[in-house]
Symmetry: C2
Subunit: 231 residues, 2 copies
């Protein structure tokens, strides 16, 4: 980087390469926030809400605790940001699995992805539960929860309506919403139980039950065996 000379060659050499005595390195605001959020999520998932102290979070992110206050006005704000990040990642990840095939196949993939790892995961459930307890008492957390819930459910409603339309069984808005509420609850419940009791269900069992039940609720066969007409 700096050629600058031969003798005394250490003088112009960037300290961050040679000198181990550097106290810290500056990073972009974004990467520091992400590191702090990530540390928060890890700790809540591993040790529970009470394990996520500012000191532990800072240690995970590789910084000292004072820095948290430099990027977030309070610990609560950091928790909020972590909650938002977690839920957005969860929903986006699931939505990406839907793919871009037919409406029926997109719905099938969406349901199935929601009920398999990595979406079904003990850590993710622990995280979600830890946050939910705070949702009731913090208006901002409540807002994030509302938005996230609506986001997931609306996405599901769109998929359901499109699939039913595709096979010639169109439904009106009210009915579409009711179906989405029901399927959303079913998926949430299965996801929750799969994450809370990882050993209680066989591999693929949740996905299979989910597909069968969604099919029954919306009156449209989504399972593969259903694609082979038996008459």
């Amino acid at each position: 980087m700096q050629p600058y000379n031969f003798f005394f060659c250490h003088l112009g050499v960037p300290r961050d390469v040679l000198d181990q005595s550097r106290k810290f390195k500056r990073e972009s605001a974004q990467s520091r926030r992400e590191a702090l959020v990530q540390g928060t999520l890890e700790l809540i998932a591993e040790l529970g809400i009470s394990g996520a102290t500012v000191r532990e979070i800072a240690a995970r992110a590789g910084v000292t605790q004072g820095l948290i206050r430099h990027y977030f006005s309070s610990k609560d704000e950091l928790i909020q940001a972590a909650y938002e990040h977690h839920m957005n990642r969860l929903t986006d990840q699931t939505a990406a699995f839907a793919g871009d095939g037919s409406a029926v196949s997109r719905l099938r993939n969406f349901v199935e992805a929601s009920l398999r790892p990595p979406i079904v995961d003990p850590g993710a459930v622990a995280l979600w539960a830890g946050f939910l307890n705070k949702v009731q008492h913090d208006p901002k957390m409540q807002h994030v929860h509302r938005r996230t819930y609506a986001y997931f459910r609306d996405h599901l409603e769109t998929l359901i309506v499109a699939a039913l339309h595709e096979v010639g069984q169109p439904v009106d808005d009210g009915e579409g919403q009711r179906l989405a509420i029901a399927c959303n609850a079913l998926i949430d419940g299965l996801w929750l139980e799969g994450g809370a009791l990882p050993d209680a269900f066989g591999e693929g069992q949740l996905a299979q039950i989910g597909l069968t039940s969604v099919s029954a609720i919306i009156g449209l066969e989504l399972t593969n065996k259903g694609e082979q007409p038996c008459g």
Copy 2:
């Protein structure tokens, strides 16, 4: 503190009737434990897990904090007892609503009761979420969770199998279990959303969606309108 008196007029009179200066009253171990558990539940529901400190809990129970250690070996043990109490109450309460009519009517009542107040309740959901976060890291909490989940689901499975048998559509064990898992997840999901977003659903909407969806999943009409054949 005690003015020691002028004319001994207090002698012989039971102190607990006249003398307000009693420092405390002895209670049975059971009632003290219940009061402490009740205080714990109230606080977690109202203020979240972090609001349930030993001092606040003791205040709710009308005692001083040292007494907690006299009845529970640690705060964790109190939390455990509170969790167990809460879940048992929830399941027993729901089961009682089923009544003793026909199998189909018992199932209908069970589903409906699970999706209406007082079972659907923000406080109960906050409570449940607060505990769930601890379940993953505490083996004893995990045991309570397993038992409670199995209890509720088995009860539901019994009702479903009986109802299907009653209408001449018997199912084998494996299928009964699958149906119970699905319906349990559906009910849990609806219960959760109803408690977490109290204003998002109209009165009776959750129960209606729940009945319709359970009917679709198990292939047996439970709603009233279904009892009036339309053609």
